[in-house]
């Protein structure tokens, strides 16, 4: 899933300081799963900011709405009534949501409530880690199911570098060396030959370096 983390409340308060009525828009997708932008978090944020403004003697009217997803036109369309009469919408979706809102509602002021962090998963309750570099050309079959593109701090394809020690990355004792993990796993599987092979430079044009990406699938297109 896409993992996002809420911006500090003070930052959001500052972004809406001139607004009288604000829609807080949650998302039922990834950010619900990672507990940062679902229905519950949306209500909590709206309430907190309403109370803050009340205490400051500058009342804020809030409306809340949680879309099934903010990354599909049909669900953003369904927000047409909710956005009526508001000075701004604070989107608790990942970075995709505010953009869908901005595109659908050209006169609406859109504010992001989240810092969208990475594609990852939960390690334990309350802890999420990055797992996929979204490079557009998966190599996990060559690396024992551990991604060097994003889990190695240098994204090297022929690791581990000389900064790997005691299984940890040179940048921090709290970060596992991805290539150490790859080594241990391939050794266990009897496939260290994969690591001995020279890996060519990656085709980064499949990643964001090639410009904004689009996937077109005619088989699922309608009409």
């Amino acid at each position: 899933m896409i993992v996002a983390e809420q911006k500090p409340l003070a930052e959001i308060a500052d972004m809406i300081k001139d607004c009288k009525k604000v829609l807080f828009a949650g998302c039922g997708g990834c950010v619900t799963v990672c507990l940062s932008g679902g229905e519950k978090e949306t209500e909590v944020m709206a309430t907190a900011l309403r109370m803050k403004r009340q205490l400051e003697g500058n009342p804020l009217e809030t409306v809340t709405y949680t879309a099934t997803r903010q990354c599909d036109p049909e669900y953003v369309e369904a927000m047409a009534d909710a956005v009526k009469g508001v000075d701004a919408v604070v989107s608790l979706a990942c970075g995709v949501g505010p953009q869908y809102l901005a595109a659908r509602y050209p006169d609406l002021w859109v504010i992001p409530a989240q810092n969208t962090a990475f594609a990852g998963g939960s390690k334990e309750h309350g802890v999420w880690e990055e797992f996929c570099g979204l490079c557009g050309q998966c190599v996990l079959h060559l690396t024992g199911g551990i991604c060097p593109v994003i889990r190695c701090s240098k994204s090297i394809m022929n690791g581990p570098c000389g900064g790997s020690q005691y299984g940890k990355c040179e940048i921090s004792k709290d970060v596992d060396c991805a290539w150490h993990l790859i080594y241990e796993r391939l050794k266990r599987l009897g496939r260290l030959d994969l690591m001995r092979e020279y890996r060519e430079p990656k085709d980064w044009s499949k990643a964001r370096d090639g410009g904004p990406r689009r996937i077109t699938r005619e088989d699922v297109m309608i009409g």
Binding site: S153, I156, N158, P160, C161, G162, S164, P201, W204
Partner: protein, 308 residues
Amino acid sequence: MKSGGSKLEQILEQGHFAVTAEIGPPKHADPQGVIHHAHMLHDYVDATNITDCQTAVVRLSSIASGVHILGAGVEPIVQMTCRDRNRIAMQADLLGAYSLGMRNVLCLSGDHQKFGNHPTAKNVYDVDSMQLIHLVRRMRDEKLFFSGEEMKGAEPRFFVGAVANPFADPFEWRVDRLEKKVNAGAEFIQTQCIYDMERFERFMEMVRARGLDQRVHILAGVTPLKSWKAAKYLQTGVSGMIVPDAIVERLKAAEDAKAEGVNICIEQIRYIKEHVPGVHGVHIMAIAWEEVVPDIVGRAGLYPRPKL
């Protein structure tokens, strides 16, 4: 000779025990320090490494420093890390460096920018050190750009170096990775600073068992320590370094820690030269202490340097 006139290559190919040292460029635009160090090292080393923004701290560029050093009559080994340039900038710099007289290049990953003075920088790592070795060799031997496009004019003919760290983990993989670098085209290797001699000897045993010492010139890296605190810092604060307690204690007990640090370094060089087969030279990294190198070279019995 495969390179376009590397003195280091000739020294090594002739079977001499090579001596290289490191010069760290300054954090400003005045080259006088680099030139001073080059003059100082002139008779004592065969070539000098010019670090490429080591520990990710912005410094006068490796290639520009190389020009100053060349002007002082010393052969530079230009370091090129993968951290700051994509493959376009790397090749432009390789062409530029060769055009300016550089004949040796050392390919390395580079420290993560977290350690430097611009920790919020974007890192590149478009190609990794292994790929850089391979592609610099291919540029020279097949006249091909990294993309595979043919080079119509003069190709850069570098003597290609790489690094190896016997003190990083997994230990048993380190020789595999060295072999991978040799297969990729590395012609000389400079190692991480050696303090744990026993581990280095085990590493070299594996290197010899695979015949890698016959395929690549390994230069053992040494760094004189100025104080027990410096030793302790390397021991605990730098990933991929092993400093035995005995060295920390010896520096602690010394009346003159700097002199003792130099003594230790000289003992290490003598030991490696006499007792560790397969090592073809020494690389002295006297970090911010270049002036001590002539004394080390002299007392280690490596002076005078062979004349070509």
